[in-house]
């Protein structure tokens, strides 16, 4: 993760004082008319590319790692290297599995799901997004689609900002306009938006399918990650799964029962592309190496000074 930090620092260094430059709200600038008549996925002309967004929006969303760490959205400093290695190991098969064809943009939309709440979807999606953003040629959009419990939006403190639900509810609102570019290079964030009574229906609506398609087109050849509600507790996640290219199911080690995971898979549909991630794997232990993180753990232990140094850096910024 130190790489991310360094990249961030470089970025910040190359863009002196980005915050005060433009106070103008993003949704105000783009004209709404051209997007109001979507004719199909490729047919609809993109209003703006993510680069345009980033360029036009001087006020980037600050990813405050200390805060996120305090909310346990990011791993503890002592485990940072270990866990970033693990996410690197996870993203590699994920990227390798993606089709190369241009028209398969939808397969690059990934739903991070779990059977039950508390399995670690948000943690996984955020860290996976950060890890993916490290890829030099990959733009990453992190979407908070968990309407009942928008942990990501809360973590970024963007509860009052218009987001996904607003774009879904109001066809006149362009989805591009609610995307928030972050100060992490190549990583953008789409908040959930204001709470809506028919949030569930909105997330399961045809409009949602269009939005997903649009986002996929927009971020191609990047990745769009959806943090979704628990599969077994909500209805919309199933609909969401049908819109999205593939599902990463998070299973909490030692907690999620076999039966719940199986039911979740059945709910999502057997025809879905589902892969599994084991979260909360136990530390070390007698047979720690068996679980495949022995190396990372050892490395972290070997360099305790690195974390301390970073912390100093972060504090100073």
């Amino acid at each position: 993760m130190s790489l991310v930090e360094r990249a961030l620092q470089k970025l910040q260094a190359s863009r002196p004082s980005p915050a005060p430059v433009s106070r103008a709200p993003a949704p105000a600038t783009p004209p709404a008319a051209p997007l109001s008549a979507p004719a199909g996925r490729s047919a609809v002309p993109l209003l703006r590319s993510p680069e345009d967004l980033r360029a036009g929006n001087a006020r980037l969303l600050h990813v405050d790692r200390e805060r996120l760490r305090g909310q346990q959205m990011l791993p503890a400093l002592s485990q940072e290297r270990e866990i970033s290695d693990q996410f690197r190991a996870i993203k590699r098969p994920l990227l390798n599995g993606l089709p190369a064809e241009q028209d398969e943009t939808l397969s690059r939309t990934i739903m991070v799901a779990s059977a039950l709440p508390g399995d670690g979807k948000t943690f996984t999606s955020l860290n996976l997004a950060l890890s993916l953003a490290l890829e030099k040629d990959l733009r990453v959009l992190l979407v908070d689609a968990d309407a009942p419990k928008p942990h990501l939006t809360r973590a970024f403190e963007r509860q009052d900002v218009p987001g996904l639900l607003d774009a879904l509810a109001d066809p006149s609102r362009h989805i591009e306009n609610v995307i928030l570019p972050t100060d992490v290079p190549r990583l953008d964030f789409l908040p959930i938006g204001k709470w809506h009574d028919t949030a569930n229906e909105l997330l399961a609506s045809e409009r949602m399918r269009d939005v997903v398609q649009r986002l996929a087109d927009m971020y191609y050849p990047g990745i769009v990650l959806f943090d979704s509600p628990p599969v077994l507790l909500t209805n919309e996640s199933r609909a969401l799964a049908t819109f999205l290219g593939q599902v990463v199911l998070v299973v909490k080690s030692g907690v999620t029962p076999h039966q719940a995971v199986k039911e979740a898979i059945a709910t999502l549909g057997d025809d879905r592309r589902i892969s599994v991630v084991l979260n909360n794997a136990p530390l070390g232990g007698v047979l720690g190496h068996y679980y495949g993180y022995r190396y990372g753990y050892g490395a972290t232990r070997g360099q305790p000074a690195a974390g301390a140094g970073r912390r100093d850096n972060n504090d100073s910024t």
Binding site: Q79, Q86, S253, H258, V276, V277, G292
Partner: protein, 539 residues
């Protein structure tokens, strides 16, 4: 091997999720079990050691057996002897155990219960292959006093019986023997008198030293035949002599001269007369001792008659032809050869007469025997039957007499100090209860509780399995597994986890501590019980 270890660790990890449930189950079972253990009443044991002469008890049963009985059968006999129903009833009465038994059925059940709980075993100290007659009587009861009383009462009653010397069995046997002897004596006498009477009645018809009837009959017939032969021989002899006598005359004429013939003739006539005189004298003499019917007398008579007739004939012949034959006969009679033959003839005739008489007698005897031919075998059979009867009775009588003597000897031996029952150790009851072994039960309950807790946790893990590693994930779901993420914020959790571990282990330790406390409590209770029993109960 590695896989098995991994699997076991996974199971342990999975079961660990239910640690609180496991602890709750363990606690519940332990508390309930311990209360149960304390509710079990104390059981006290009292015992006594006694010597029982199994040989005297077993003797009647083993008569004629060379095999030595094994310990088990000895035990069975001792048990039977000691735990008879009347005795147990007495024990139940004396120890007030029968207060609760109202109905006869309950009493019977009580007696059965006593029989079961009174354990008679070969003494452990001497228990080798044989018991040497030393047995241990043990009784257990929830009341120490009661257990002691039962054993004591049982022994007392037995000792009483032994001391008062109730040898009913022996006396009975002797009386029986005496009665039998008396009866047999009478029978023997009857048989004897019957036999004597019979002998008296059938005297002469019974077989004697000459043998039985048939032997005698045969003998008589042979004798008869012999007599007949003798008669025939004698007759033939007489005939021959008579022929010789008549044939002698011509022979005599040729050789005799006239003088000698005359002389002979004279002498012959004189000889006949002399002979008649002689015979008459002899007859007189015989008649002095015998009757006229004596064969010799009869024979003499016959001879005399013959001689007289002969004399008459001689005289006639002399008178008629004195010239021609008179001298001749005269001379003939005086011939010594002729004389000798005549003597012979006489003698033969006498003999013949005797033989005839004898024959007649033998004949009558045979006919007599033949007459009783149907009676004699019956008599003989009856006699042998009587004899047999007598012999049997006599043998039995002698046997009984011998037995009685033996029985009297045995009784004498018993009276002179052959002990059949003796108390070695008087009854004693331990102050400490023999059961239940509370410590063992408490430990058992603890183990059961811990086992049940672990079992419940394991079962719950089986019912609600979770994932522990990526391989398990792949195996169970059959989906591609991207990887595993370590438990983040593990260090922050460490404190909480440690606290929880501390709580779990303290609850567990508390359980063990509770066990120790309960164990100490049980010891204290036991001690108190023993003390009160010692104060209140008999020593």
């Amino acid at each position: 091997m590695h896989e098995i270890v991994v699997r076991i660790l996974d199971d342990l990890r999975g079961s660990w999720r239910f640690r609180w449930l496991a602890l709750a189950v363990a606690w519940g079972i332990c508390v309930a079990g311990w209360i149960g253990v304390f509710l079990i009443p104390n059981v006290y044991e009292s015992n006594a050691r006694v010597y029982v002469d199994t040989q005297s008890l077993l003797g009647p049963l083993l008569e004629g057996l060379a095999v030595k009985p094994n310990v088990d059968s000895e035990l069975a006999v001792v048990r039977q002897a000691l735990l008879s129903r009347p005795r147990l009833e007495k024990v139940a009465r004396d120890t007030d155990l029968d207060i609760l038994a109202k109905t006869p059925a309950e009493t019977a059940a009580l007696i059965l219960d006593l029989q079961k709980r009174l354990v008679i075993s070969t003494d452990a100290r001497t228990a080798n292959s044989n018991s040497d007659g030393v047995y241990r009587i043990t009784f257990t009861d929830t009341s120490r006093e009661k257990s002691f009383q039962v054993v004591q009462t049982l022994l007392n009653s037995f000792v009483e019986d032994t001391l008062t010397g109730k040898r009913e069995g022996q006396e009975e046997a002797q009386r029986f023997l005496s009665d039998q002897i008396a009866a047999h004596e009478k029978r023997l006498q009857d048989a004897e008198s019957r036999l004597a009477e019979f002998k008296k009645r059938n005297i002469g018809r019974m077989p004697d030293d000459r043998g039985d009837y048939f032997v005698r009959l045969q003998h008589e017939m042979v004798e008869l035949e012999k007599a007949r032969q003798a008669v025939m021989l004698a007759e033939a002899r007489r005939t021959e002599i008579e022929r010789q006598l008549s044939g002698e005359e011509p022979f005599l004429f040729g050789f005799d001269d006239s003088s000698s013939t005359r002389q002979q003739n004279n002498s012959k006539t004189g000889d006949v007369a002399a002979r008649i005189k002689e015979l008459e004298a002899r007859e007189q003499q015989l008649l002095l001792t015998y009757t006229e019917k004596h064969p010799e007398v009869i024979a003499l008579e016959d001879t005399l008659a013959n001689l007289r007739k002969q004399q008459e004939e001689e005289l006639e012949r002399v008178r008629q032809g004195q010239r021609a034959t008179g001298s001749l006969s005269q001379s003939l009679k005086s011939n010594p050869v002729y004389q000798g033959i005549r003597v012979d003839l006489n003698r033969t005739e006498i003999q013949l007469a005797e033989l005839r008489k004898d024959l007649a007698q033998r004949q009558s005897r045979v006919s007599e025997l033949q007459r009783v031919v149907n009676e004699v075998p019956e008599v003989e059979a009856e006699l042998s039957r009587l004899n047999r009867d007598y012999d049997v009775t006599r043998t039995q009588y002698q046997e009984l007499v011998k037995r009685l003597e033996t029985a009297k000897l045995t009784e004498d031996a018993a009276k002179t100090g052959v002990v059949t029952f003796q108390v070695i150790d008087p009854p004693a009851a331990a102050f400490d209860p023999v059961a239940p072994n509370r410590i063992v039960l408490l430990i058992g309950v603890l183990m059961a509780g811990l086992g049940a807790g672990g079992g419940v946790a394991y079962l719950m893990n089986l019912l609600r399995p979770v994932f522990h590693n990526t391989r398990m994930l792949g195996e169970v779901l059959g989906l591609p597994v991207l990887g595993a993420i370590s438990r983040a914020w593990a260090e922050r959790d460490v404190m909480r986890r440690r606290l929880e571990l501390a709580a779990v282990s303290s609850v567990g330790v508390l359980l063990v501590a509770a066990f120790v406390g309960v164990a100490l409590l049980s010891r204290a209770i036991n001690h108190a019980a023993a003390t009160t029993a010692g104060l209140g109960g008999p020593q």
